[in-house]
Amino acid sequence: MKYLGFCIIFLFFLMSCSSKEDDVYIPVAYNLEIPQLFADKLIPPVIPADNPLTIEGVALGKKLFFDRILSGIQTQSCAHCHKLQEAFSDRSQFSEGADGNLGSRNSMPLFNLAWNFEELFAWDGKEFGLENQVIEPIVNPIEMHGDLKEITKRLNEHDRYPDLFQLAFGTSKISGDLVAKAVAQFMRTIISANSKFDRYLLGEATLTAAEENGFNVFMSEEKGDCFHCHGSNNNPLWTDNQFHNNGLDETFTDLGLGAISGDPADNGKFRSPSLRNLTFTAPYMHDGRFSTLEEVINHYSEGLRFSETIDPLMKKVNDGGVGLSDQDKDDLKAFLLTLTDEEFINNPAFKN
């Protein structure tokens, strides 16, 4: 019985050896290193079967991400609004598009995107899948304002890109679809998982008394109660990636998820952002209305505004919130800052 098994395995080896010898170049699989805490605590990242990570694909995606060729008049790249030093977000409240127009939303930081399990991207979840989210800014008139036909033509006539696509995807015919795939591959490799708090959870760092109390405020249902939406030691993404109305406004100028779903019960709902790297991602909220963490904490503590769709987790709305003590506020901020990942913003793999 055993012998038979070995024979068959051997046969398989032979078969796989003999075939494909003179085929096209096959890109090398990219080994996505999953951080220990993510591997321990979370389900696997989302890598679509039709777009596996390859070394060539990721490198190409990175080149495209930093290349102004993707914008209409070739003046801006993705990195214009997603800067590594700012955790791939933008310090401006509203980023300037290629034609100088301002949008109405704050640019989002880019990291751990492969762990957005439901794959709904943007503040309002309007894009399903990272591949779609790549094309959106390219063609958006107030962002890169490009024409996909024009841009793929440009790429096809470029002296390097056709070869790079050939290596990554086995074809030098560049399409919008392949551009999306390459950039999405690069973005899936952007991981941030080495903050002080991560090291604390791995037993490699200790928290100060203030940071520890701040974490307790975050986790306590009667105080911050942040963990119901923003992760915890057991969900190191520090977001649930779900849509909530966290009590910013009584009436909405931006309907958020409601404009996408068409359901008035979704008005004013936006996706909870990750609380990693807040040091680098100011200003805060979908419209960048708060420039400091103090303002954010004061909002949750006493600035809540009632509207019909406010999340039931927002307690004591009539009093503006639960009213944290000054000490608890300071400590909560100290804790939030332990989610800062300096290594991330200095990672050469993500530098242009």
């Binding site: 398989f12 321990d40 306590s220 249902e221 769709t309």
Partner: protein, 254 residues
């Protein structure tokens, strides 16, 4: 890169062959549990969410925005049908309302039961990646582990204004002395008696959401609304009211 792949395929085939011979000595089937929801007989789905349309036994008018809960430890003939914990997070809004139980031995009459929440032995802090990813954890300061249920919504308070409730069921925790937390397992077994199962059976299990506010404890949302996780007594009340929320629905075969 390709070769190890073939090898794995081969291994898979070998392994699956082995399974087959085992299965025929001791035949088992898969059973689907389907959880449905109603309010005292009126069907309830996510399309009924976010509207003030339900009245509790205490005459509080409520609207529901989130209802998800954990069922585990499914028992047929008093034995768990798998070495691993069988559990599922039921989430009405996300339309996750079924649980597939495999390895159920074929037999005509079966005592059938499951656990609402996690028994202490299964309620292991941070141990289940899918539940962590769904942010269903209970903070360590309350003993850790997982929520049994997260039921959020709004009620009209005595001034007829909207107010929030977070009916979160967890293992009861008395944290009066943080250095000496007292925990009490408040998960409970739901015994649905004898049922007949055959291949491709789907068992409907109905939750009457109104029961959470009714029986035996009339629930007054003006008093018990938020911050119920660290409220030991509230958890005991939830445990008592929970006993009557589930009932057996239709059993179908297809």
């Amino acid at each position: 890169m390709k070769k190890p792949f073939y090898f794995f395929f081969f291994l898979l085939i070998v392994l699956s062959c082995k399974d087959e011979t085992e299965c025929c000595v001791n035949p088992t089937i898969a059973i689907k549990l389907k959880f449905t929801h109603h309010w005292d007989g009126v069907e309830l789905s996510s399309s009924d969410f976010n509207e003030f349309k339900f009245r509790t036994a205490n005459d509080d008018l409520i609207s529901i925005s989130r209802l998800r809960y954990l069922v585990s430890n499914v028992l047929f003939n008093n034995t768990i049908q798998s070495s691993s914990t069988i559990y599922s997070l039921i989430d009405i809004d996300e339309n996750k309302t079924t649980l597939l139980v495999t390895g159920v031995p074929i037999s005509k009459v079966n005592a059938f039961a499951f656990t609402f929440g996690f028994r202490d032995e299964d309620n292991l802090d941070g141990a289940y990646a899918d539940l962590n990813s769904a942010s269903f954890n209970v903070p360590e300061m309350l003993g850790g582990g997982y929520h049994y249920m997260q039921f959020d919504g709004k009620y009209k308070d005595s001034n007829n204004a909207d107010a929030n409730f977070n009916y979160h069921a967890i293992r009861a925790a008395d944290i009066t002395d943080p250095d000496n937390i007292i925990l009490q397992d408040t998960s409970f077994e739901v015994d649905l008696g004898n049922i007949e199962i055959t291949e491709n059976t789907t068992i409907e299990i109905k939750m009457n959401v109104a029961e959470w506010f009714k029986n035996p404890n009339i629930w007054n949302l003006n008093e018990l609304n938020t911050v119920l996780m660290p409220n030991f007594d509230a958890q005991i009340l939830m445990n008592e009211n929970g006993q009557s929320v589930f009932s057996l629905g239709k059993i179908t075969s297809n």
